[in-house]
Symmetry: D2
Subunit: 379 residues, 4 copies
């Protein structure tokens, strides 16, 4: 049982670089037998000293300070783009056109235009491509999708989603790249809101058709520089299947450490989720027996043997951490590569990344125009 290896080149060694590295190192023994045993060929970053330490720490065979070297490295079959937003599209396209499979962190691009080009060119290259919306790979989220897809919630009336954090409340918090339009494209919108949009699309299997939105920048100057991205967005949205809902993202919510949550209401039941308790799903079902006189939201600890991804982990009730979403995600991608299978529908493709970007753009357009913006998706 000597598994085949797959050469991986990683761009980025910060938050996402650490999370992806951990997943490459964990999946070979946790998702046993693994689709491939990742060979950590090379890691790229601009700071030589830092990237060298990252290579040593995570066990990459080498490191480079120019991502183009990853693209040219024949040992690398999978290009993992965990860099900042401004480096998402160009390296991803180059890698794909060099014949490498590509996974790119979200948001795919800084706007829909950039994202569309990335999708078109990467897809044309004939490689597997994935936009790293890792929250699709939370067991509870996959379970929610399964229930909705099986019709257990009936017709869907509402999706209410929000991603709330608090770090930007402090006026002295440093002017990180996430607060710059050139580097990030947008603020809370692309950083947090993109996750909410992708979950809405994934869970409902519906597209966002209109957006009525507001944005704001509460602290307009930091470190003497004007902040040119949003601190928070609020939007009322319509979905292609007739559901109505809200999309919210903010970095100004005291006490919300990592508050991604959603509630979905259907004719037969409802589902609610909170990332800070990612092993749980709150589920309401109508009219079930037994205990028919005792209906209410069930607090489901998603850790049963037949729950999504759970075969790889522990006995029921032994909860898993946030970083395991990346294990599931990369296992999914490696399986698609091995089997020449589809990344969609459970994995987000670059097309999903592009469609999410269209919604983000519509949020900004609506905030600017004061109008309900209809969204048209390009092929």
């Amino acid at each position: 049982m000597a598994e085949e290896t797959i050469g991986v080149g990683l761009l980025g060694y910060a938050f996402m670089g650490k999370a992806h590295s951990n997943a490459y190192k964990t999946l070979p023994y946790m998702t046993w037998p693994p689709p491939y045993r990742p060979q950590l060929v090379s890691i790229a970053g601009r700071n030589k000293e830092a990237v060298a330490e990252a290579a040593q720490r995570y066990g990459f065979e080498g490191y480079v300070t120019d991502w183009r070297e990853l693209v040219q490295d024949d040992r690398i079959a999978l290009f993992d783009n965990s860099g900042p937003n401004s480096l998402h599209t160009e390296p991803s396209i180059a890698a794909a056109e060099a014949g490498k499979h590509v996974i790119c962190e979200k948001p795919l691009g800084r706007d829909a235009e950039e994202s569309h080009e990335a999708w078109q060119r990467v897809d044309a290259a004939g490689v597997k491509h994935m936009c790293a919306f890792n929250y699709r790979f939370v067991p509870a989220v996959r379970l929610a999708r399964q229930m909705i897809e099986a019709g257990e919630l009936g017709e869907i009336f509402h999706f209410r989603g929000r991603y709330l954090q608090e770090w930007a409340v402090d006026p002295d918090s440093p002017l990180v790249w996430r607060l710059s339009k050139a580097a990030a494209g947008s603020g809370a919108l692309g950083d947090l809101g993109a996750h909410v949009i992708d979950l809405a699309r994934y869970l409902l299997g519906q597209e966002v058709t209109t957006v009525s939105a507001l944005t704001t920048t509460f602290i307009e100057e930091r470190e003497g520089t004007k902040v040119d991205v949003d601190d928070a967005i609020e939007a009322a949205v319509e979905f292609s299947g007739g559901a109505l809902g809200t999309l919210e993202a903010s970095r100004f919510c005291r006490g919300r450490r990592n508050g991604l949550g959603f509630e979905i209401n259907g004719s037969m039941g409802s589902i609610a989720f909170n990332l800070e308790r990612l092993n749980e799903l709150d589920v309401y079902m109508t009219g079930s027996e037994p205990g028919a006189s005792a209906q209410g939201f069930r607090n489901v600890l998603v850790s049963e043997a037949d729950h999504p991804f759970w075969e790889w982990w522990w006995p029921r009730g032994h909860i898993i951490g946030w970083e395991h979403t990346f294990v599931h995600e990369l296992h999914h991608l490696l399986s698609a590569i091995r089997d020449d299978g589809d990344v969609a529908p459970h994995g987000a493709t670059f097309e999903d990344g592009y469609r999410c970007a269209e919604v983000c753009d519509a949020v900004l357009r609506s905030a600017e125009s004061g109008r309900r913006e209809e969204i048209s998706y390009r092929d």
Copy 2:
């Protein structure tokens, strides 16, 4: 200590009539000594048999089938309008112009025009007037207001409010007056959303300045009749102090029995509330000692001796019910009458009822126009 009495005439014997009656009967001994001892003079309703039974049940001295008789009854000093929405303004105006103090159930009118007239004429009559937004009188809500007013939350960034129920999901649920525009003015908007709007205004001490809204009617026909009111609304809103937020109301949320809730985020803390647990307030405060390393949302059981309204009730931890909001509300009104004091700011006046109606109208306008609607308030 012989308390003075005040003659009360009540219009309506259904849900709200029962709730108000209970409050009149409870407050004389619970809010001891009471501002007045209510004398239940007469109750009005269209169905003679039903109103006669209500009079017997709640201890009214008499009953009438035409509310105009209440207006003409000199024994009555306080006219309590607990009738359906279509009967809110005309009887309230008539009673005030007959010199009676008036409390009217929410929404004040079926639209801003009607509400404005009611406010202007009732106010001109020189009587005390109150719009029965009873959730201002939940101890936890009053505590939230006190904390915000004292600056404990700092600058307010967000108000996120929703009122979710589920009864209309059933296509066979009867075509009650709440589903008719002529009788109710609007659907979930005026019935549920009005409460959210009033709480936002009350808690933040800010006005809603713009609304970007959607409405929908999921079930367009019931009992062979076209439903002409909204089943759900979603709105992104701006406040006069710069806060951003959402207002939501829906009757299509399975499992949400009576889901009025809000979350407020400020620079120094956050507050969350859920009417289904109305004795609790979730409070996050930054940087507090002791336990500085252990910060998180505090689940406050609002039942301490120094908590709002609590002097009248039980030892800590012995929770009170939804109906006690009416006891507090009517105690507040009777005290204002006795002392010739102001109903505002803690009680909602007809002006508050009107201002809420302007926001409701803007929701409908925005849903129709597809534009962000600015709200201007008339004097």
Copy 3:
């Protein structure tokens, strides 16, 4: 529909006196039509000024400073003993032997001996008797009982109960009668633990057969006087049906305002309850459809039209308060009087009060002897 009245004489005007008075005043219109309309004949208390004010406040026709006058008052058909523990048995016996129905606050007596005599003599008098274990009349508790009785939980393995408060932590809190053996019989045991014991017996339909217990007095002297009752008890217990469990009571639990709670585990499901959220019941059921892949504790908001006692209150989700347990309890007693029906099994009789006292005595015996004490119940 002229309801008959029943004359009530009440002993005690403090915490329980207020709670019972409120119930007598509320039930005539809330439990409509009521079994009887209570006529508040007279209230007894030692402090003349205070009892006079209570009479005025609650609407009693008269007041007395010696409870014996209530016993001799022919207008009184129901004697309500809401006095302190040391006044539970003698007045209750006297009233019953004078032909009055009797409701007596818990604990029935200060020990099993006293309680047994009260039961024997009151029962021999042929009147209706009730020991006011009001938590049997929480809708969620009645629902739990119904589910267990119907077999929905299967065989019962565990009952885990506790009643935790915090007021006695403060060494300067006054030396109230609840801290005196002569006045109260015991400390947290009879005050709080008795409720847990009664709920265990009521819910399981099983008797406690053995007790292995500890007691302690954390603060041994207050106001210069030695405290001769327990501050806390802990017990491991066996039930007649084979279940094992714990009984706990303490006044030294910071943050637990009124923490009565229990968990029951059966072969087919589990139930958990917390008095601070008395409108809720957490219910786990095995293997239910639909949503079979999504099992977990259901947070049931006990407010459905078909839930116990709910016909008298509000639309679903409009929660009720702690004091309404007394409305249900007294409605139950008045119905039994009217119909010459049984107070048991849903109401606790003096026999239940006695049996509870046997368990309390066994707790003290076991704490003293260091042995597992078997309990035998006298006829």
Copy 4:
């Protein structure tokens, strides 16, 4: 920065073997720079095919079917005993006497006698020894300990602990070694209760002095064999510092997937924990400012930069999983080895394993004798 390596030999490849292997593979890059880089020398198990696969899966250089080969292997400096209970003491002693540091899964032995000998002989060998009570290494548990140790809770009155699971309710669940006295020593007691006992000792810094306990076996025969261990235990206990509490363990609690929880009440505050939400700690503190009018249990998401162990993980709010307790635990042990430091007080030593076993033995003795059993600890 070439870290030194340490040779590891692992006994056991099942549940615990997987958990320990994962930790050895994760800690070198997560706890960066690591105290040692573990070299996975050899893994031992009785089933040759299974242990061979485990070696391949987890990356051990070799495998053996007799643990004695690990003891004799000079490349191994750390012997990790993740075998079943019956194999805990003999191999651990042999390894220590061969000069290897030892970590052994809990319970240390099947009874106090066995455990005492293991402690004495391993300690005499002069190696580092650890009993793998991994729940000491939950960040929330360490935070609780820090708060108690710093006096933030004041004097401790109560410890209430329980470990509830449900798998044994099914009469057809297989007769695993955990249901056999010869293999396991005891049932729920040693498997689950031992964790509760260790946490009580660790958190309070007090010893259990007396035990009043019950045990039961609900299903007395499985697969035709008599079950000779407990299914559940309940105990009331006293601590050396005067606190009172309960210890509970059961495998018969429907809906409790992995229900380890405790509550600690002190004169200044309380703490509660639930392993199913292991990233959270509920903390009540008296009298804190700001928000003084809003006190309640704080739901602390233990993921701040200054929280225990959190430096190694993710930004706040990105929760970690159950298995990371082993990463922390083994990092602690490797650090003690590197620095020749003490495993205690944060790590459990074999002495802690022995002391826990004395409490377990006392539970069985008390259940048998019907007496409160005092516990004396041997040196």
